[in-house]
């Protein structure tokens, strides 16, 4: 494939469990990947995309993502993001990015209190960013969710800002695009980006939707956005 010049670095904390799925997904798309252990104080200088993979970093102790915030690698991540580097946080990665303040809001316990693991349809809200540019606004994608703390919370002022800056990436919906909220998230929000649109976070797992035979390959169109700048 023609994307082998794209380098994806994937963070691994104790308790991360989606790093190899993420690696497989990006390699399937032709990217070069490297897994970065959290003790590393630097990230590879040739990194084009940094992924904070899903899982249960530090066993979700205290709060999901709270302890990972203080891992040695996180200083390098903050600097990489501040310098405009592209960062994608999936599931626990999203929680980590909100904990460190690279993304607005926070993820609370699901309203129903249950761990939810199933395929869910999502609506594309804003595609004017590198992540979703291969999709159209209003498109429906089928992506697995698997989380206990996916209930996105942001206060009213913050929410207004998300709308104004088109920072809402995806919302949970039914297959016709009508809001369908599995976990209590404010306005059914499933993923957001920062104002500068270089840091992205979402609870659903696009890296688990890479093969039609396994239920969906809608993740391909999402992750591909990062590989063809």
């Amino acid at each position: 494939m023609q994307n082998s010049n794209i380098k994806v670095s994937i963070l691994q904390f104790p308790g991360t469990n989606c790093e190899y799925d993420t690696q497989h997904a990006f390699e399937k798309l032709g990217a070069t990947t490297e897994i970065i252990w959290h003790k590393s104080e630097t990230i590879p200088s040739d990194t084009n995309l940094l992924v904070v993979a899903g899982g249960f970093s530090y066993g979700d102790y205290l709060r999901s993502g709270a302890i990972a915030k203080f891992s040695p690698v996180m200083k390098a991540v903050a600097k990489y993001a501040k310098d405009g580097g592209k960062v994608l946080g999936i599931c626990n990665g999203f929680q980590v990015l909100t904990e460190v303040g690279l993304l607005p809001g926070a993820l609370k316990r699901n309203d129903g209190l249950h761990f939810i693991s199933k395929h869910h349809t999502l609506k594309v809200e804003n595609n004017d960013n590198i992540f979703l540019k291969k999709l159209n606004n209003g498109d429906i994608v089928n992506i697995p969710i698997a989380h206990h703390d996916g209930n996105y919370y942001i206060d009213q002022d913050g929410l207004k800002e998300l709308y104004e800056n088109k920072q809402i990436l995806l919302t949970y919906s039914d297959k016709d695009g009508k809001a369908l909220n599995p976990n209590g998230s404010v306005d059914s929000i499933a993923g957001v980006c920062n104002k500068e649109k270089n840091v992205f976070g979402l609870m659903p797992h696009p890296e688990r939707a890479m093969e039609a035979i396994l239920g969906s390959d809608d993740g391909v169109k999402m992750l591909e956005g990062f590989l063809n700048p």
Partner: protein, 79 residues
């Protein structure tokens, strides 16, 4: 000195665990409960002996780690 930190969801942030517990109390016929909030308690044994210094240290700990101030409030008690 000992610091007891109580962390709970802010007023106005829906506490689904509190709601579930409230519901369960109702079904056990404990009907006089108006509201339930579930939080967590963190107990710290401190070397510090100066109360003011301890309070400022623990406040910092809360702001940086023990609470996520986007959704949570904290109350510190020193004994």
């Amino acid at each position: 000195m000992k610091a007891i930190v109580n962390v709970s969801l802010k007023a106005g942030v829906l506490d689904s665990q509190g709601k579930a517990v409230h519901h369960a109390l109702d079904s056990l016929h404990f009907n006089g409960v108006n509201d339930v909030r579930v939080g967590k308690q963190i107990v710290l044994q401190l070397e510090e002996t100066d109360k003011e210094k301890a309070m400022s240290d623990v406040t910092k700990m809360c702001e940086e780690l023990l609470a996520n101030t986007v959704i949570e409030d904290y109350v510190i008690e020193l004994i």
